[in-house]
Each structure stands twice: as C-alpha cells, then as structure tokens.
C-alpha cells in the first residue's frame, strides 16, 4: 500500500536531512566564535569566506530547507494514510519536489560562492544575484505545487465521502498547507514585485515596504514549522503514550484558530521599524497575544493526553503517571523532550511579543536563543523523534540503536538548555545577534559577556555532538539495520467518541475569517506603504 507515497516521502526526508547536515555544520563554528575561538580564518582554505556566509547557510538550510522538505513530505503522507486514500495526482507531488530541488540548486550556487551572504531574511538593499531570489521562489512554488497535489487528493476524497468528517490529522495537514499558500503571498510579492525588477535595475528599493512584505510571510512561517509538530503531538503522541487524544474537537479548534491568527501579526517583528505607526504595531501585538490562546489549548490537551496514556499504563497519583510513560521509546522520549524545551520558548515568545518590552531584546542574541528553543528544538527535535518511527516504517527494519537515539535526544536537551541560556543571557547584556561577538567583545562588549558566551560555546558543542549522533543513527538505520520490524504510523483515537460539529469541519467560515483578519490588520498599512513608496535605494554588496 502507498508505495508511490512512500517513495515521494523518502526523497523529501533524504533532502531534508542532507540540508540539516550541512546547515548544522556551522552551528558549532558560530558558537565557538561567540566563545572567542574564531576558526573562520582557517576555513577560508575550504572556500568559506566569512562568518556571515556560514550564518546565511545555517539559517537558510536549517530554517527553510530542512523544515520545508520534511513538512511537505510528512504532511502529504499523513494525509493519505489517515484518509486511507492514495494521491490522485502523484505527478503534481513529484513536480513540486523537482521544482524545490531546482530552486535549491539555483540558490545554493550563489550561497556557496559567497555572492548571497545576506542572511535568510535577505533584507534589501543588501543585494544578491537575481538567480538567488529566483531559486528561492522556485523552492517555495515547488512546495505550493506539492500542496496542490494534496488538495486534489483531499477534494477527491471528499467527493467520494460526502458528509463524512475529515480525520483529524488529514484536516490539520491541509490547514497547514493552506496557511502556507496564503502567507507566502507576501514573500512572493516581495521577490516578484520588488526584488527581481530591482536586481535588473528597473527601479530602486523601498526597504520598509520590502520588510513588511517579508514579515507578512515571516511570522506564519513559524507556524508552518510548528503545526506539523503539533500534528504529531496531538495525532500520534497520545497513541505512542498508550492513551487517547483528550479532546479532539478542541484540537481541531486550535488548528482553525492558527489558520486565522497566524498571518495578521507580522508587525511584531517590526516594532522598532521607523515607517510603521505605533497603533498598527499595537494591534499586531494584541493579535499576537490572541495566537497564544490556541497554544495554551494545545499545552493542556497534549499533556492531558499523555496523562491519559501514563494512567492507562498503570501510573497512579498526582504525578506517578509521568514515570510510567514510555521513556525508553526513542520516538516518544525525543518528542517529549522537544515539548519541554518548546514550553520555555513559548514563555520567551510572550516577552518578544510584548510591544515595548521588545525594545530590550530586539536584535540581541536573546532572539537566536529563543529561536533555537522553538524551531531549533520544539520543531527540529520533534521531527527527529518522528523519524525514529518513520524510518523503520519506511524501511521495514528496526532502529539501528535505540540507546544511541535516546542519548541523542537527552544530549540535545541538555546542550540546548546550556546554549540557549547563554544566548538569552548575553542578549540581555546587550550583545547583538548576527554578529561576531568574539570581535565585538573587544569593541563594545564587557567582561560580563564571558560566562554566558562560554555557555554558548559548550552548549553548542554538546548540541553538535547530538546532531552527529542523529545522523549516524538515521544513516545506519536506513541502510545497515538488519533486524526486520513492522512499524505502523501511530494514529491516536479520540478519548470521547463524539460527533464533530459541522463548524469544526467546514472550511468556509474559517477561510472568510482568515481573509477578513488579514485585510483588517494589513490592508490599510499596505495601501499606505505602497502608495507612499519611494523606490530610491540601489543594491549593495558589502560582504
């Protein structure tokens, strides 16, 4: 069953892991630089020109390529499995995949040649060659095409099953892909409307407008990363815990809320921008608090489901259920640790979002400290945990070493707590992000940077050790594991077999709400920024 889908998924997973492998190479280099050990001069011999070239590769490969390949493959597979309905147009999914590969190669060439060291945010008027932007565009369009392949399948399933409620994970996966389609319109407009014509010299650049379009996509991007992890936490983890999903209707409700609330709050990345009036920033701050609501629903529901599993396995008392959970199952344990780190990231996120408190942390090392808790652990570690059942599922062979996988997860957890604590701390001491802090220390730093930067260095090395263990584990499991095993995709049942009300299954009201909220939160400001745009800046290559 699902041989084609498995093949498509496998290729997505392979490319995702290759991207993560290359992307994480730069992590320890950056962490060591912060600690005062600068290895970059030696790396010029192998063609790495600067810290910032490496940081661009780190950001693009980890945050964009690893995540997007994994997500498009994973959500497609989860959907066909839970619908029990094969892809109706697998050619679309293949086409999407190939487009992503072509785009990636186009973007990789200038990255490797140090012609596009503009970091993953690519803020103009920093200017890379036109084919870098075109490559990124093809990459995103490829993920759209894969999404259309999913949509075609979903619609065909609905036609054959009129009136039937969509299974939770299929619905959640579709919502995530639809969110992605809607929110990437911002970056599509930025690249096609502003950047490409500008690289051809047709007109100058208005950086305020470009930033605004970028963050239209940039915030929902984090939900595009996170929601697939939530699919696993809600839809699979309860089963892996030995229990059931505590409240399936509220799980669906959360996903709908994420769809409508993820996009209209991008100004929370632009609180300090000069060209956006304070009221709009405040509106987006308030909407950011609103998106905290479904996050809290998720926290309750996911933990209650685990408790349900722990008790079903014989756990007693207020906390006894924690001990009976499957801590020796690498897939479960890895994701449970990911959740714990993510919870810390959530608290930091509230601080970042808090309008004027943001002044203290904006563009400091606090921010990468935060994002390694979220995308760097909540998401990445969850995807690793998923791979710990998914690879055996695909190959029919058991994991190469359960022990290695468990050690990997715990080391990531420990390394991240140290690394991230250090980053948050120097951030509060005023160290900027995206900066060679080892050098900056001599310029404007102070002696109290030393302990936290040491934590960054040590934590970073532990993290990288863990990353290497992960790669050994998956390569060995995929190619050298001998013991055969039948591993099924975990699918959790709802605790209460209650009918799902129509409002939690119908797209229309939620899509309307999504569009209305975007128009209200962005419309007037976008019209103003576009009508008052001044296309004055030429491009700069300053690296």
């Amino acid at each position: 069953m699902f041989a084609v889908e498995k093949k498509i998924l496998s290729w997505h997973v392979i490319l995702a892991c290759v991207a993560l492998f290359i992307g994480t190479l730069f992590g320890p280099l950056q962490a060591l630089e912060h600690m005062g050990i600068n290895l970059y001069p030696a790396l010029q011999a192998v063609g790495l020109q600067s810290y910032y070239q490496g940081l661009t590769l780190h950001g693009v490969l980890n945050a964009l390529v690893w995540t997007t390949f994994f997500i498009t493959g994973f959500l497609m597979y989860v959907m066909v499995k839970t619908l029990d309905f094969p892809l109706t147009k697998p050619a679309l999914n293949w086409a999407g995949f190939y487009l992503m590969v072509v785009g990636l190669v186009m973007a990789a060439i200038p990255l490797l040649l140090n012609q596009a060291s503009i970091l993953y945010t690519m803020y103009p008027p920093l200017q890379a060659p036109w084919y870098y932007y075109l490559g990124l565009t093809l990459f995103v369009v490829g993920s759209w095409v894969s999404g259309w392949g999913m949509l075609a399948t979903f619609l065909a399933w609905r036609k054959q099953n009129p009136g039937k409620t969509t299974p939770f994970m299929a619905l959640a996966g579709m919502i995530t892909m639809v969110l992605w389609q809607i929110c990437t319109l911002g970056i599509a407009a930025e690249i096609l409307g502003l950047i490409l014509p500008w690289t051809f010299g047709l007109y100058g650049m208005d950086s305020q407008l470009a930033r605004t379009l970028f963050w239209f996509t940039g915030h929902p991007l984090v939900y595009f990363w996170l929601l697939p992890a939530y699919v696993s936490w809600y839809g699979m983890m309860p089963k892996q815990s030995g229990g059931k999903l505590f409240s399936e209707p509220l799980a669906r409700f959360s996903f709908w809320l994420f769809l409508i609330l993820s996009t209209p709050l991008g100004f929370h990345h632009q609180f300090l921008d000069p060209g956006v009036p304070a009221v709009w920033k405040f509106l987006h701050a308030a909407l950011t608090y609103a998106v905290f609501f479904p996050s809290m629903l998720t926290a309750f529901n996911v933990i209650a489901s685990m408790e349900n599993g722990g008790r079903a396995r014989g756990g007693k008392g207020l906390f006894g259920w924690l001990l009976t959970l499957p801590w020796t199952d690498p897939s479960w344990a890895t994701q449970a640790l990911a959740m714990m780190i993510f919870a810390l990231g959530g608290v930091g996120g509230l601080i970042n979002a808090s309008y004027n408190i943001n002044l203290v942390v904006h563009n400091t090392a606090w921010v990468p400290g935060h994002l390694h808790l979220t995308v760097g652990s909540g998401v990445t570690l969850t995807f690793m945990g998923i791979l710990y059942w998914l690879i055996p599922h695909l190959t029919g062979k058991s994991l190469w070493s359960k022990k290695l996988a468990l050690w990997q997860a715990w080391l990531w957890f420990a390394g991240m707590l140290i690394f991230s604590r250090g980053m948050h701390w120097i951030g509060l001491l005023g160290a900027p992000r995206r900066t060679m802090l080892g050098v900056a220390l001599g310029n404007y730093g102070s002696a109290d940077w030393r302990v936290p930067t040491l934590m960054v260095g040590i934590g970073g090395l532990i993290l990288y050790t863990s990353a290497l263990m992960f790669f050994v584990e998956i390569v060995m499991s995929a190619f050298y594991s001998k013991e055969s095993a039948t591993v099924e995709m975990p699918v959790a049942e709802p605790l209460h077999a209650e009918p799902i009300p129509a409002w939690l299954n119908n797209w229309q009201p939620w899509l309307i709400a999504t569009v209305v909220l975007i128009v209200v939160a962005y419309g007037p400001m976008l019209i103003q920024l576009i009508s008052q745009a001044q296309f004055t800046s030429p491009g700069f290559k300053v690296w």
Partner: protein
C-alpha cells in the same frame, strides 16, 4: 456543542484572564505612561541625504536646543562600517533626541544600558529621546547585519 472537561474550562478561563492582563499592562504603559515604540517621522532620499537637509555633513552631531536639551543627527554607513559622528559628549542630565538614518543598507542603533533600540532604514528617519541621568560611557552599536564589518560598527556617548 462540544464536550469540554471542567479543568479545561478553568484553564481556558485562566488563559483569557492572563492575556487580558498582559494586553492591559502593555497598553497602559504604552498609551498613558508613554513607553512607546518608534513612529514614522520623516522620509529622506538615501542617495542625496549627505548633501543637503538635516543629515548634511555640517549638521551632523549634537545641537543644543536649550540648556540640557539636545538633538543629535547621525548617519549610519557600511564600508567603512561606522556612524557619523562616532562620538558624542554631553553633560549629565541631558535629554537628547536622536535622529538616525542610513546612506546604504539597513542598520541598527542601540544605546547600551538604555531603552534606545532602533531599526535604521535607508529612506526613513528613526527618532528616539532619552535622558541620561548617569555619568559614564554608553556605546551605541549596530544591531542589524550590514555586511562583513558589522561587528565593528559602533560609536560612543560620553556623559559627564
């Protein structure tokens, strides 16, 4: 309607309460205590900003408006990575309004140990006011990646 567990109802109530309190705290501090974020002030042409207007060479740096009240015009530039001017000296207790813009790429302007933290864009003027009540040296640093020399982009305010 859907079935919601009693504890979950409490949790939802608590969440809503928290969010309302947070939003009110931020709102009150912003709109009645004046802890505000930057707002649009003025547009310039980054290609000519050095030649005329408030950021012309002769006008850069500090201007005393009244005793203890200053305004400061600063330009941020990559290659070489620096601010013009890169040093300012003011007496303790001075209130300074900073106006900063860029002649090339995006930069930042953050005064260490203060709440002044600005995104600096070409074509836009960023503005913030601060009262320096303590003597000492306050570096101002670039917080936005602006090219290979970014880590060396800073200046210094001496308060004495």
């Amino acid at each position: 309607m859907i079935h919601i567990h009693k504890y979950e109802k409490w949790w939802i109530g608590l969440t809503i309460l928290m969010l309302v309190v947070f939003a009110m705290l931020v709102g009150v501090s912003a709109f009645s205590k004046g802890f505000q974020v930057p707002e649009p002030w003025m547009r310039v042409d980054p290609n000519t900003v050095k030649e005329s207007g408030p950021f012309a060479d002769a006008n850069l740096g500090l201007h005393e408006l009244a005793p203890g009240k200053y305004e400061a015009y600063l330009l941020a530039q990559a290659q070489p990575w620096r601010y013009y001017p890169s040093e300012l000296t003011i007496p303790v207790g001075s209130t300074v309004t900073f106006y900063v813009t860029s002649v090339d790429v995006q930069h930042g302007f953050r005064i260490q140990d203060t709440n002044i933290n600005l995104q600096v864009l070409p074509g836009q003027v960023s503005k913030a006011t601060y009262t320096f009540v303590k003597a000492g040296e306050f570096p101002y640093i670039c917080g936005e990646y602006c090219g290979v020399g970014h880590q060396g982009m800073f200046g210094k305010i001496t308060v004495k």
